[in-house]
Amino acid sequence: MGKIKSLDELRQLREQYKSKVDIREKGDQIEKMIQVRVAMATCGIASGARDVMNTLVDEVTNRRLDNVVISQTGCMGYCYAEPTIEVTIPGKDPVVFGEVNKERAVEILEKYIINGELLDGIIPVTHKTVDD
């Protein structure tokens, strides 16, 4: 690393390094984030959840979506429809999408996460959580 020679250069460097702490910044403000949880239990991983996860992370990073955070979770119970992802927009009920592959992940990202439009393939909520 050479010496930083100007404030502009320092600012560029900051932008370049931002991704290093991005996940932590988002976690710190999790309540304001659109949270995408990818079910990554054995069945999910076996049906390709890791690919879906990687695709989502790449897309969110490339599109610089500062308000979307991708995390993994355990089995959601919809093993017949794996890989599944759950999207929670702040203030709205979580929505679970089933049979998500790489292409569908991008579609969900573009339609629901960015524009708020619902699309097919939503799994109706079949249970209540202890918080309800």
């Binding site: 390094y17 931002k18 290093k20 932590r24 988002k26 079910a39 089995c75």
Partner: protein, 597 residues
């Protein structure tokens, strides 16, 4: 380039490191590699999370999972369950003591809810050894802004407007201090960072240096620009090896990046920092003593004026600020004085870091806005008193401070309120005491400390603290008279009024602040030879209650001096002449038949 999806943060502060947290880092990395996830998950060590009570801490992001008291061997289950399968490891989650429920998101922990982290903004968030992470968090932007867009006068104006006051205990307005140093002419000026944290129980400066050393480097450079100094010195005690190591690395990296050295960011401003090691004397936290120590002289204070701003290190204008004060500087310049003004009380702006210690559930490091009440700090954030005991007092300001009691709990904490209550902010140590703590003994503890740390230069402090601790010793042994209690008061006031420096002037505070409030307790020691808290062993007597003793003989078997006699299945008796008050029988009895009073 690998794009991490998860970050695993392991506390690398001194507390957690001594509980083997670095081994956890290695184990996590190994298990992650075994599972082929090394490109997906990043493991790093950070500074202190503050929740030292339950260390070592491991935090996983982005889901804010907060694992407590993690052992190196737990790394395997964290990787297998949480990182691979997405199932949180319940047994390692923090459980809120009031509800016994596991908290899976640190945002929901009572400990963090009322906190506001300004000085500690990067502690437990970035890898302190990685300058790139500091830069990613707006690091050195404030320095850049000052050098390129502001005049030194404007920087000082902004600091004055912010209302920032010295966090080392004095509470002197930082901007004003900088202005004095700027106005004094000199061919060479110095910026000094006081990292000689000496209050028993205070460890915020250490934690900042360990968790975010670059913030101090940056702030010192800003101060150098403001006052016209090209040289900075950090006076740090050698007992802080980890802080020293991280600071050394930060200075080296900053030089490599051109953020220290000649012509920083092409502004024409030169600045570099040197570390000076102290031997850990309490008095060296006093700025004139600190400067003498740096010059190689004895660490003894001299009268002010002249203030260091006129004649400091080698007689040159010198500005001395404490670590926590410096940690606030970059944020103030970036977010503006107006923003800083909105936090805190009328005369104490911003936040303050406190080190919670003593009989409190959540021992650790916290940061709250000024004006937060003691009750909120002790009961909400601190989780209340250990073992459900009753709160008795809290010592703020360390050995120079005083004890605050139940009736002060709703006082909003700031510099002036604490002074008005007969204590002080000090550097932010808070030692909480419960019903089992004896106040004359507490005062004695602090006086023994100041007696030990007195440099000996002035008579009131050298001899006065010695006499005070002797008098307190008499009290705790039941040998004092009522005249001695009067003498305690008179002597305390004399030392306060006549000692040379802050150490001596404040040394009697633990006496003055307890003798009024806990007068009855002092009198009980003198008149009744009784310690109401049951702490002073010389005044204790152990008795066996006839109605409860079943004659199991357990006590007589454990007594080291054969002071307990009695036959099997008949009531036992303690021979008071033989008893050495070790308490072994008291601990052994299963029937609460032994009492001490």
């Amino acid at each position: 380039m690998s794009r991490y999806k998860m970050h695993v943060l392991v506390c690398g502060g001194t507390g957690c490191v001594s509980s083997n947290s670095l081994q956890i880092v290695d184990n996590l990395k190994n298990h992650i590699k075994e599972n082929g996830l090394e490109n997906d998950i990043q493991v790093l060590k950070t500074g202190c999370f503050g929740f030292c009570e339950k260390g070592p801490i491991v935090k996983i992001l982005p889901d804010n999972t907060f694992y407590v008291q993690v052992k190196p061997e737990d790394a395997e289950i964290i990787v297998k369950e949480h990182l691979v399968k997405g199932r949180k490891v319940d047994k390692l989650l923090y459980k809120e003591p009031s509800t016994e429920k596991s908290i899976d998101d640190s945002k929901h922990m009572e400990f963090y809810k009322k906190q506001m982290r300004v000085a500690l903004r990067n502690c437990g968030f970035i890898d302190p050894d990685n300058i790139e992470e500091y830069i990613a968090r707006d690091g050195y932007q404030a320095l850049g802004k000052a050098l390129v867009e502001m005049t030194p006068e404007l920087v000082i104006e902004e600091m004055k407007k912010s209302g920032l006051r010295g966090r080392g205990g004095g509470g002197f307005p930082t901007g004003l201090k900088w202005e004095f140093a700027r106005k004094n002419k000199g061919d060479q000026k110095y910026v000094v960072c006081n990292a000689d944290e000496g209050d028993p129980g205070a460890f915020m400066d250490r934690s900042i240096l360990e968790g975010d050393p670059h913030s101090i480097v940056e702030a010192m450079a800003i101060c150098g620009y403001a006052i016209g100094a090209d040289k900075g010195l950090v006076y740090i005690r050698a007992e802080y090896p980890l802080a020293v190591k991280r600071l050394e690395k930060a200075i080296k990296d900053a030089r490599e990046y051109g953020l220290l050295g000649k012509n920083i960011l092409d502004s024409g401003f030169d600045f570099d920092i040197e570390i000076k090691y102290g031997a850990g004397a309490f008095v060296c936290g006093e700025e004139t003593a600190l400067i003498h120590s740096m010059e190689g002289e004895r660490g003894e204070p001299t009268t002010k004026p002249p203030f260091p701003a006129e004649s400091g290190y080698w007689g040159k204008p010198t500005n001395v600020n404490n670590v926590e004060t410096f940690a606030n500087v970059p944020v103030i310049l970036l977010k503006g004085a107006d923003w800083f003004q909105t936090i805190g009380t009328e005369k104490s702006k911003g936040t303050k870091v406190f080190a919670l210690a003593g009989k409190i559930n959540n021992v650790g490091l916290i940061e709250v806005p000024m004006g937060t009440t003691l009750r909120e700090v002790i009961f909400d954030i601190g989780g209340g008193i250990k073992d459900g005991k009753r709160f008795k007092a809290v010592q703020t300001g360390g050995p120079s401070g005083g004890c605050l009691t139940e009736e002060d709990l709703d006082t909003p904490i700031d510099f002036d309120n604490l002074l008005a209550k007969g204590s002080m902010m000090g550097s932010g140590g808070m030692i909480v005491m419960d019903e089992d703590d004896c106040m004359p003994s507490v005062a004695k503890f602090y006086l023994e400390f100041t007696e030990d740390e007195s440099c000996g230069k002035c008579t009131p402090c050298r001899i006065g603290t010695k006499r005070l601790s002797e008098l307190l010793d008499k009290v705790t042994k039941g040998q004092a008279t009522m005249e001695d209690l009067e003498m305690l008061k008179v002597l305390s006031e004399t030392i306060r009024d006549t000692a040379l420096c802050g150490l001596g002037q404040t040394a009697p505070n633990p006496v003055l602040s307890t003798i009024e409030t806990f007068w009855d307790e002092y009198v009980a020691h003198v008149k009744e030879n009784r310690c109401p808290a049951g702490q002073c062993t010389d005044l204790l007597k152990y008795f066996i209650l006839e109605e409860k003793c079943i004659g199991c003989t357990a006590c007589s078997r454990v007594c080291p001096v054969e002071a307990i006699s009695g036959k099997v299945k008949s009531v036992h008796v303690i021979d008071q002449d033989k008893c050495i008050k070790c308490g072994a029988c008291y601990d052994k009895c299963k029937f609460s038949a032994i009492i001490k009073k």
